[in-house]
Assembly symmetry: C2
């Protein structure tokens, strides 16, 4: 059932990375934001910036590649297979999020990480972080902060996206996706079966609700897999359901 994964990210690697790091647009968001220029100088040759197409795997459950990633742009989803054999999406990661932290502990990845949109990453070999963290307390703080962020996201997911009537769960998902909207205000609108895997409902139910939200002017669908939300109406709908 589990497919073998091939590392997607055998980067040409070179000096270009020097400027890439220095001028990284998400550096303030990313893990190494905790480092000064001097710290960055020592390591940028070891960092790659791979690009992953939508629906391609970043890494697979069970892999031990010894690499962590920062998401520079796009959305990554974490998938698991239930013991019952069902695919479940348990969390999303967006710009600035750290993914694959398990590797820091020499542990295998817990989930399949799949690009939901085209994704750009910052690929960081674990030894790099180990070496730095021996001296840089700030980096360790930053690591812990991100771990806690992931934990908080996961708990929010199960309390907001796994409970209540189907319409509410869809609205909550859209609200979350709005937080990852691009500069034009467009969101990634998952396929209906993916929504089903996230919200524990059938394709048909997801489709019915999305259609209903379009009729109500909450959501505008812009195929393929994009959409635009009316924030006010979305909020009003949620208020209405929560009474």
């Amino acid at each position: 059932m589990l497919m073998k994964t091939l590392p997607i990210h055998l980067e040409p690697a070179a000096h270009p990375q020097a400027e890439a790091c220095a001028s990284c647009t998400v550096r303030h968001l990313a893990l190494f934001g905790a480092l000064g220029d001097a710290g960055l100088e020592r390591i940028h040759t070891l960092i790659a910036s791979p690009r992953v197409d939508a629906e391609q795997r970043v890494y697979g459950r069970g892999d031990t590649t010894g690499v962590v990633y920062t998401v520079r742009s796009g959305i990554v989803r974490f998938e698991r297979v239930t013991e019952g054999g069902q695919r479940r999406i348990v969390r999303l990661a967006g710009q600035g999020d750290l993914i694959g932290q398990e590797a820091l502990l020499r542990q295998a990845y817990r989930d399949d990480a799949v690009a939901s949109t085209p994704v750009t990453l910052c690929r960081i070999p674990v030894p790099v972080i180990d070496a730095l963290s021996a001296q840089q307390m700030a980096l360790i703080r930053e690591l812990m902060r991100r771990w806690q962020q992931a934990l908080d996201d996961a708990e929010n997911w199960s309390s907001e996206l796994c409970t209540g009537p189907a319409r509410r769960r869809v609205l909550k998902l859209l609200q979350l996706l709005q937080g990852h909207a691009d500069e034009r205000g467009l969101i990634w609108l998952p396929r209906r079966d993916q929504m089903g895997d996230m919200l524990d409902m059938t394709v048909e139910t997801a489709s019915r609700i999305v259609s209903s939200l379009r009729r109500d002017g909450v959501l505008e669908a812009l195929p393929p897999q994009h959409g635009r939300l009316d924030g006010a109406r979305l909020h009003a709908e949620l208020m209405h359901i929560d009474r």
Copy 2:
């Protein structure tokens, strides 16, 4: 809606803690297991071992007491209130688990932590950990390991306990509780409304399913709030549902 919390844990504190730490029965499980005797020696006077009754709060969401805990015995549950105003239980912690890590980052607690059974804790002021971690790399590793453990638990929760038919969710919960069984093989059997808050179902549904499982010989209820499972039948039931 949020209640003010009073610190439960103003310990008499004294030398007795010296032996308490050295002879701690869960020391190999606990955070400071990463420390040698020497390390322990320096800090045991700062550690308290409070006891919390069932249904008492360990800490509340929003508190900033600057303390983390290790669970020495018993079960702690993490509660949140949905934006819709519903109480949700998002995770459980048992023996050896670290709770309240947010405090290490000077952040407020994210959830209400409530004792589900009588609980004994190890109460550790954050400055103690800060001071140690500046030198002890092993402690930091251990911290990270626990953070990852919590994350994994949270994701498992939403993929296994939030999805599928009601009967399956209850069985999954019982399976999880079996992992926290005491030495006599007894498990904590939540009240029906608590099961509802964990599994997103009504009291009535929870009650009906528990009753049904008792009739089927999967579960033996031993009031108050205790039970015994027939592991084989539980497993068989799950197999049957997952087909």
